[in-house]
Subunit: 320 residues, 2 copies
């Protein structure tokens, strides 16, 4: 939860006057998203989301993200659509930050995930992957396997202060993953951060997918692996195979995945656990105690990694 | 800014089903209010505010606050009105906390205060004071002059770590204020926390007054003094006498204040500076570094106190 920037009413009015979205009724900072400042901007035409991009998003990546949302929305994905001003531009500047207004999506993200959420979400993820077909822009995944060693090196010295032996565990696992990382799997645009708080449900269906600011090119199956970690572990970190099975079957109803993808799932799941373990560890060690952001426990992902290390094959995820 | 409690969708639906306010479209935590968790709850009937009362509000005070808002709203004050469920109750429980839904108010609080805001706000404050007439409930101001010595004693040991000499300055000032504190001034219900972020403007007029969770019985002139401190100093802590004059004249257009009130203003302004200096100092010394809440600088109020210590009479506030 974070709102880093206070927008004055004068600045807001001047900003909104560049759009045909009616007149402002109110604008409130919302406790959503930790990378940017988000405001629920309501005009007499209804609610919109105003985002000010704070320093963790690279300005040069913004056209990719905004164009991607526009492409996906046109393909029927319930994602925010960037609103263009009268000058035809969606991206402009407010309070010295890049800023954009996007459409608002009804619904709430599931605080307690039930198997039926996983079913619907699996299908929605597959539709997202299918819909990215034909999107002409590209963005490299700078948090994928080749980046982990450098991330590790920035945390290695202090890793054992978080858990004894962590440094050597991480190094071994990175070596192993590098040696077995699959090649040639079906790839395209992935969201790369499809955690439950980025997926809204309304009346039992997926009503919104938000926060595309990690989207990039990568294996579709890697995204599935991220979601096995994000959606299918219980609060006590036990793995719920029913949820996994429903997520995977929900996905396969929409987009089949081939044998190579299926076989790679355990490695990709270890890899995606490693990715979040490393970034959380980095943030844990480098975020000042008094920061606005609540640090997330890296050891949650160490436990998830250990589960996948013990897996014999994709059957462990409930597949027939 | 704070949202302390995550409300699950099931809990929310069950809660809302006790009201006739339509079906939920979305519910978002908002970055507003630091004492409670506030959510913008939007149903097909429009927006509402859902508040979960966290530990700084005493549950036994809630009927006073909710009844006061109802009384003021009926008297034409643009304040939130508590919504009653089908059982006739406005106060119930959600996530093991007292909770209420109130009506939503359009507008934004002024990030940059201009003299015209002070004019409109002064009149709105006077209407609030007049409208409290006849409200039958009472709440003692437990942060007024008699409470300061005890607050001081809880901070005295560490006061000089914040500013050398602060302990003795505070003690002298409390002794002085106790010896000259006025008696018998016109009194009634005051809001007691009318900072700019609790006052919304829309299209140039006051459109909302929120956050009544410090309201209590006290001198009306004491509230005015709080507002001279909260609205009329610039960011560099210089006193803007034009803003003060417009605030006071705005007030006097609606409710005259008598000679005794006028003469007491410098003392009341010193007192209100002392109240916020002491509570901020207490929070500064007692809030853990990693808390969600951003601590406010107590020394801002030391500077304001010093300004009022140098004042010769109410003329310093721009009165004719």
């Amino acid at each position: 939860m974070a709102v880093y920037t206070e927008v004055s009413d004068e600045d807001l009015m001047a900003f909104v006057s560049q759009y045909d979205i009616g007149s402002v009724r109110f604008c409130k900072g919302i406790a959503e998203g930790i990378e940017n400042s988000n405001y629920l901007l309501t005009t007499d035409l209804g609610p919109f989301i105003l985002t000010l991009y704070e320093k963790r998003v690279k300005p040069e990546d913004l056209p990719y993200f905004l164009n991607l949302m526009e492409h996906l929305k046109a393909a029927g994905i319930p994602c925010p659509m960037p609103i263009k001003g009268r000058d035809g531009e969606a991206l402009r500047s407010l309070c010295e930050r890049p800023a954009a207004i996007v459409t608002f999506l009804d619904g709430m993200w599931p605080r307690r995930i039930k198997p039926e959420h996983c079913d619907k979400f699996g299908s929605a993820m597959a539709r997202l992957h299918a819909a990215s077909d034909g999107f002409p822009m590209h963005r490299h995944n700078d948090l994928s396997m080749p980046a982990w060693r450098a991330l590790f090196e920035q945390t290695a010295d202090q890793a054992d202060t978080v858990r004894k032996g962590l440094r050597s565990d991480l190094e071994q696992e990175i070596n192993y993953l590098q040696s077995v990382w699959p090649s040639g799997l079906p790839a395209g645009v992935i969201h790369a951060d499809l955690f439950p708080d980025n997926v809204f449900f309304h009346q039992g269906d997926v009503s919104g997918i938000i926060d595309f600011y990690f989207a990039c090119d990568d294996y579709f199956a890697y995204e599935i692996a991220i979601c096995l970690n994000a959606w299918c572990f219980e609060v006590d970190l036990s793995f719920n195979v029913t949820k996994a099975k429903r997520l995977l079957n929900g996905y396969r109803k929409v987009r089949e995945f081939n044998d190579a993808e299926l076989k790679s799932l355990p490695i990709l799941a270890r890899g995606s656990a490693m990715r979040f373990l490393l970034t959380r560890l980095y943030d844990w060690l480098h975020t000042p105690d008094n920061a606005l952001v609540t640090r997330k426990d890296p050891l949650e992902y160490l436990e998830k990694l250990r589960f996948h290390q013990g897996v014999q094959g994709p059957g462990a995820y409930g597949l027939d």
